[in-house]
């Protein structure tokens, strides 16, 4: 008999939890059927269901406790407005970022997609040609830089340093360092 009571209590405990779910609207149809079958036979659980519903109504009927405070209303309104503006800025930033990324991707992919793909041999020859041309350009640039550097130094020496040296002493123009520089050795 005690075992029967214990088993029944265990069932009633589970049923009462299910009644909470039913009250919250989260009970499945199958569980609802099982619950109904139990309620038909169990007065305790029927009473619990009635009490639960009444309690829920009673708690829901407790008044909303307003707090009249204009200053706090203003703080809350300012907070919400700031958060909404901030949220909009982030959305705009994200949209711009996406648009930029899409444009870059299209800029890279479209030319590749539009140009027909040559054979492997032709591609290799083109690469070699490109490397050769790049070397020419680099050499030319290096020579140009050297010439520009030398020209600049010559001009500085001639216009700036040499006159000073000549004015200081005729002997200084004969200094090996200046002679060597001007002769280019």
């Amino acid at each position: 008999m005690n075992e029967q009571h214990a088993a029944q209590d265990k069932t009633c405990g589970a049923i009462q939890i299910a009644l909470d779910d039913r009250l919250d609207g989260s009970l499945s149809a199958e569980r609802d059927d099982n619950l109904e079958n139990h309620l038909v036979a169990c007065g305790d659980c029927r009473e619990y269901q009635e009490d639960l519903s009444a309690m829920r109504r009673g708690l829901g009927a407790l008044p909303l406790l307003r707090l009249p405070d204009d200053a706090l209303d203003a703080v809350l309104a300012a907070t919400v407005e700031h958060q909404q503006r901030s949220s909009m800025r982030w959305r705009q930033f994200a949209l711009k970022g996406l648009a930029t990324a899409a444009a870059v991707a299209l800029g890279i992919l479209l030319p590749t997609m539009l140009v027909s793909r040559p054979s492997a041999a032709v591609r290799e020859a083109e690469v070699d040609e490109a490397i050769t041309q790049a070397r020419y350009v680099l050499d030319f640039t290096a020579h140009a830089l050297q010439r520009a550097e030398r020209t600049t130094i010559d001009e500085v020496i001639e216009s700036g340093v040499a006159p000073v040296l000549r004015r200081v002493s005729a002997v200084w123009t004969e200094m090996p360092l200046v002679k060597t520089w001007r002769s280019g050795t």
């Binding site: 939890i17 919250d24 407790l62 706090l72 209303d73 919400v80 958060q83």
Partner: protein, 159 residues
């Protein structure tokens, strides 16, 4: 219901004291303003209740005796600051009885009932406020309702 009043109602039921509830509400809203950048809508609503909950717990811990709120305070809370249709004397008495039974529960039980059955919060929001899994939240609500029912029956009131 504005968020301010929602927080105030919650704090009032947790603390059973309108002055302290006002303080908690002010503190929570000011903190939200200070954290207006990291805390964005719509998470702000849950953040407010969570902040108010912790502020209430701090005040409850600081209370010396932790005893039940005097009946006068509860009646004042229910009659002078309420918002809703005019109710009969019987309904008013039932409100006080319900309020007293609620006030006699533990802070944890009051918290879950104030959020769920008074404030209408969803279980998911409540789980974020109390840092509990969803399944645990449902069990907590069930136990709180069971204990409330027991309090009402002990008071001779059939819900």
């Amino acid at each position: 219901m504005s968020e301010k009043d929602r927080v105030h109602t919650y704090a009032a039921w947790m603390l059973q004291d309108l002055e302290e509830a006002r303080d908690v509400t002010q503190e929570a809203l000011l903190r939200l303003w200070q954290r207006r950048e990291p805390v964005q809508q719509p998470a702000a609503r849950t953040w407010l209740v969570r902040t108010a909950h912790h502020l209430c717990l701090d005040r409850l811990r600081r209370r010396r005796n932790g005893s039940a709120v005097p009946l006068e305070a509860l009646s004042t809370m229910l009659s002078t600051n309420g918002d809703g249709p005019e109710c009969s004397a019987v309904q008013a008495e039932l409100r006080v009885t319900m309020g007293r039974a609620l006030a006699s529960l533990s802070a944890r039980d009051r918290a879950v009932l104030a959020m769920r059955d008074i404030g209408g919060m969803r279980y998911m929001e409540m789980s974020k406020v109390l840092d509990q899994p969803l399944g645990t939240m449902k069990v907590m609500v069930h136990r709180a309702r069971t204990r409330l029912r027991r309090q009402l029956l002990q008071a001779g009131v059939h819900p």
